[in-house]
Symmetry: C2
Subunit: 164 residues, 2 copies
């Protein structure tokens, strides 16, 4: 019988949501950014000129959310839409000067929050955690791709998740 509070996904969820809430309480009133806008901004910061589709992929958001997030960023003056190099269907977004300032400020807090978390873990453990999370990330992607129907049977004898 399930015990929610010791269920791995729920434990991961709780930790991440608390931190995300704290970060959100900082940037939402200060800059008027929604959660998706912040996520989009941080993806664009790492991949200047990314298209909406690329952002979907990287940020784990659907195309509608990204479209609206981009609009929000543009309206707030934090990003520019550069309407494709060769193919004008692609959006191609990049941060404005002001966008970089805002990103850097939020980024800074994100870093401090991360440090507060990782402070309670030794660097050795942190390396192990990193490796474990990489595998869990892959495994979770597999679970998502197969859906709940794919989890009905016992442990598969051969490994079905061969990609990546």
């Amino acid at each position: 019988m399930l015990h929610l509070e010791s269920w791995l996904p729920y434990r991961l969820f709780r930790i991440s949501v608390r931190i995300a809430d704290v970060l959100n309480a900082f940037y939402a009133p200060r800059f008027g950014l929604s959660r998706s806008a912040w996520r989009t901004m941080s993806i664009v910061a790492n991949r200047p000129g990314a298209s909406a589709k690329e952002i979907c992929q990287a940020a784990g958001l659907d195309q509608f959310a990204v479209s609206r997030a981009i609009r929000q960023l543009v309206e707030l003056g934090f990003a520019r839409r550069l309407s494709g190099r060769t193919d004008r269907r692609y959006a191609s977004i990049e941060l404005s000067k002001r966008g970089w300032e805002v990103f850097s400020e939020i980024s800074d807090l994100a870093g401090r929050l991360d440090r507060e978390l990782t402070e309670v873990v030794s660097s050795d453990e942190l390396a192990r955690l990193d490796s474990i999370l990489n595998r869990l990330d892959n495994a979770s992607a597999g679970v998502l791709a197969r859906g709940w129907q794919g989890a009905r049977e016992g442990p598969g004898p051969e490994g079905p998740e061969t990609e990546e």
Copy 2:
């Protein structure tokens, strides 16, 4: 500069959300449960007779969400409200027979999903992960309690999180 995809809270978030989505895709259409209703159900299953307030605490939901979740569970015939033993302000919820059946079915899938995840981690690593997550959970609670204002300074020389 922040790299979202390697930011610990985001990595935890992605893993947990994927699993939660898969589970949700199972129980939502099948039983008409919302996410909060499912969380509430699983808390009540572990603590029969819990009050709404206790559920808030344990499920990480606010009082409104819990109130609505309880109503939903009662309307669906999955739970009963037992209106307090001595103090009739308290709600005191417990699952119905049908509620137990439903919980057990969802619980079962949750267990399989958990197993699919933990399959990629050795039992030794799992024990380490458990210990790390306990500490991260505490640390995140501290971060949340202090808010973003509490994260402005450099690393504190003495440990501020002395509780628990």
